[in-house]
């Protein structure tokens, strides 16, 4: 129809811009992933610039697939994302229910609860790893040292001394180590993102029907039953939204990992790609495509879950 031409013409710049915005990086990544492309190579200088003559086929994919560190990165990505989701949802529900009651100073408490969300991720990581989790100078170090001093004091106490003399010296945990740095990341991101879950779940709690609660009270439902059969089903939808939004954000965590350990042992997928980009652009692009596939799998899985709760 003729009268649709002008609206379409007017939409064109935006659509073209959007297409370029998405298609150019994606097709460049795809192209790089099929060629040999390294930034520094003294033996093969022709590989240092992108060219179709350096075609490698699925070689980059095969190379990445066979790297243990790639699988470690995927494993770490999933561990970090799933742990954060699990913790933020549980803490979010608990805190939202707790502050949904009326108590003096509720307004201030709510504002304070939301505030971690306004801290920049890098600042958050620096504060946690240096001021809280540092085994010597941080709160952790101070607390462990204090506990050790207390136990040492109690060893000399008259009655309970013999009991405390059996206690070992407490050792502070180094959260920059290979095995533990992922836990530090999980802790700090959980701290930062719990307010997000609280915010969304709290608004949902406020829309809960009070007459349903009263009906349940008359039906003999205990507090736990009311939570289990009324509140939790009511929260299913917002929980699905929290999980989906957070999964998208946490699959691309970077700053925290950089600051905690510089990828020492707990690289996730984005960090692994970031390291490859320093030299092997081809392999980095192939990993990037793997990351896109992983993100799509997660997204489809989450959309299904969300769709199911929305249908009900």
């Amino acid at each position: 129809m003729a009268n649709r031409t002008i609206p379409r013409l007017l939409q064109t710049p935006a659509i073209v811009l959007l297409l370029f915005w998405m298609l150019v990086p994606l097709s460049m990544t795809l192209f790089f992933s099929f060629i040999r492309y390294v930034l520094a190579s003294t033996n093969r200088p022709e590989w240092t610039s992108p060219s179709i003559s350096n075609w490698r086929g699925f070689g980059n994919y095969q190379y990445v697939w066979n790297q243990d560190s790639f699988w470690l990165a995927i494993h770490n990505s999933l561990l970090i994302v799933c742990s954060i989701l699990f913790l933020t949802v549980i803490l979010g529900v608990a805190i939202a229910i707790l502050i949904n009651r009326t108590f003096p100073g509720r307004g201030i408490v709510r504002v304070l609860l939301i505030s971690p969300f306004f801290v920049m991720p890098a600042v958050n990581a620096v504060l946690w790893i240096n001021m809280l989790l540092d085994p010597v100078l941080g709160l952790q170090g101070t607390a462990v040292a204090g506990a050790n001093d207390l136990v040492a004091l109690l060893r000399d106490a008259p009655v309970v001394g013999s009991f405390f003399s059996l206690w070992p010296q407490f050792e502070p945990i180094s959260f920059r180590a290979t095995q533990t740095s992922a836990y530090a990341v999980i802790m700090m991101v959980t701290w930062q993102w719990t307010p997000f879950a609280v915010l969304i779940l709290m608004t949902s709690l406020q829309s809960e029907d009070q007459q349903q609660k009263e009906a349940a009270i008359l039906d003999g439902a205990s507090r736990w039953s009311q939570f289990r059969f009324l509140t939790l089903p009511h929260l299913a939808r917002p929980i699905a939204i929290v999980v989906m939004i957070q999964a998208i954000f946490h699959l691309s965590l970077y700053a925290e990992i950089e600051i905690v350990s510089r990828g020492n042992g707990n690289k996730n997928l984005p960090y692994y790609i970031g390291e490859l980009v320093n030299n092997n652009i081809g392999a980095a692009s192939a990993t990037g495509i793997f990351a896109v596939i992983l993100a799509n799998i997660v997204a489809i899985f989450l959309l299904r879950m969300l769709g199911k709760t929305l249908m009900e």
Binding site: D209, Q211, Q212, E214, A215, A216, I217, L218, D219, G220, A221, S222, S225, F229, L230, P233, H234, A236, E312
Partner: protein
């Protein structure tokens, strides 16, 4: 069984007294209706009986036991809410069975009871649907089903028909009455609609500002309203209340005459007036007549359709035997 006695029950929210101390007895098997304008405390009174609110003073006695300190679920009462308050994530079957499940009843036994209740309420076809897929009337039936399965000592209805359209309301009214005839359980029904009260109640409790204005059968209230408030509230259209010299002539401060007790006569009636509005319902005609010397427009109800229109002169003849007289304090005289 379900005899409910309130003794000096009162309720304060903070400093504001919603219900001053009141006494009330509802006999076993009775259909009692609390009626009054919005904000009169009728719902609060029901919630006090249910235990959803704590009374500030006095005692509530159900079936001979003082239940003032007893939690709501242990009072043996079932309540039907205005918003139905169905559990949206559960099927109709689960909704009706919920109170039994909370009693930790055997699943097989629950199924039997739910099916019995569903059959009696014509809900068998909808058992596996969710409340969101039901119409208003069906939802209300589910809410009633959830109350029935508990086999309570008394049912409490909190404006259960207010969210239904007029035609459905009449139908549900009949269904609730049939239920009462079948179960013979005490029912307390809260409404602001005096027609519902008149048609359903064994005993009407008229409330205003937390105070019981009158308790009695529908016809007692109709024939002998205790005061001006009840006179104005019971009956539709409202009773004509006339003050001034005419009232003084009958030895009262206010006289009341119901619209159906004023006859339109060809000529020679007591009052002559001009019709301002005539409402033709077919079965009845409501006339609003301006009579010289009266401050208020008189409402007249004539049986059948009579051919009068705006501006017509009519002659009215009140049946003096049906006159209600009220003193300066608003109370009925004689």
């Amino acid at each position: 069984m379900g005899r409910i006695v309130l003794q000096k029950v009162s309720k304060k929210f903070g400093e504001i007294e919603i219900i001053p101390p009141l006494d009330l007895t509802i006999e076993d098997g009775e259909f009692a209706v609390f009626v009054g304008p919005s904000g009169c405390g009728k719902s609060t009174l029901l919630r006090l009986i249910a235990g959803l609110e704590d009374n500030t003073s006095g005692d509530i006695i159900i079936d001979g036991n003082t239940v003032t300190q007893v939690p709501p679920s242990k009072r043996g009462l079932a309540m039907v809410f205005q918003s139905y308050a169905l559990y949206p994530h559960m099927t109709v079957r689960k909704n009706i069975g919920f109170p039994l499940r909370m009693e930790k009843m055997d699943q097989a036994e629950i199924d039997v009871k739910v099916n019995t209740a569903a059959t009696s309420l014509n809900l068998t076809d909808y058992l596996d649907r969710k409340p969101g897929q039901l119409s208003g009337g069906q939802r209300q039936r589910v809410a009633i089903g959830r109350a029935i399965v508990r086999e309570p000592l008394a049912f409490l209805f909190d404006e259960p028909l207010s969210n239904l359209d007029a035609a459905l309301r009449v139908g549900m009214r009949m269904e609730i009455l049939e239920l009462h005839n079948k179960l013979k359980t005490t029912m307390i029904y809260v409404t602001h609609d005096q027609v519902e009260a008149m048609t359903m109640a064994d005993k009407i409790v008229v409330l205003q500002a937390g105070v019981i204005e009158q308790v009695g059968s529908p016809l007692e209230l109709y024939r002998a309203p205790r005061n001006l408030f009840v006179a104005g509230f019971i009956g539709s259209p409202k009773m004509n209340l006339i003050t001034g010299p005419l009232a003084a002539k009958h030895g009262a401060t206010t006289i009341g005459i119901r619209p159906e007790h004023i006859d339109v006569v060809a000529s020679g009636g007591t009052w002559e007036g001009t019709v301002s509005v005539s409402e033709h319902l077919g079965s009845d005609t409501f006339l609003h007549v301006k009579v010289a010397g009266f401050e208020q427009v008189l409402t007249v109800r004539s049986i059948g359709d009579i051919a009068v229109k705006h501006g017509d002169k009519v002659s009215l003849s009140p049946r003096l035997g049906e006159l209600h007289k009220f003193g300066a304090d608003g109370l009925r005289i004689g």
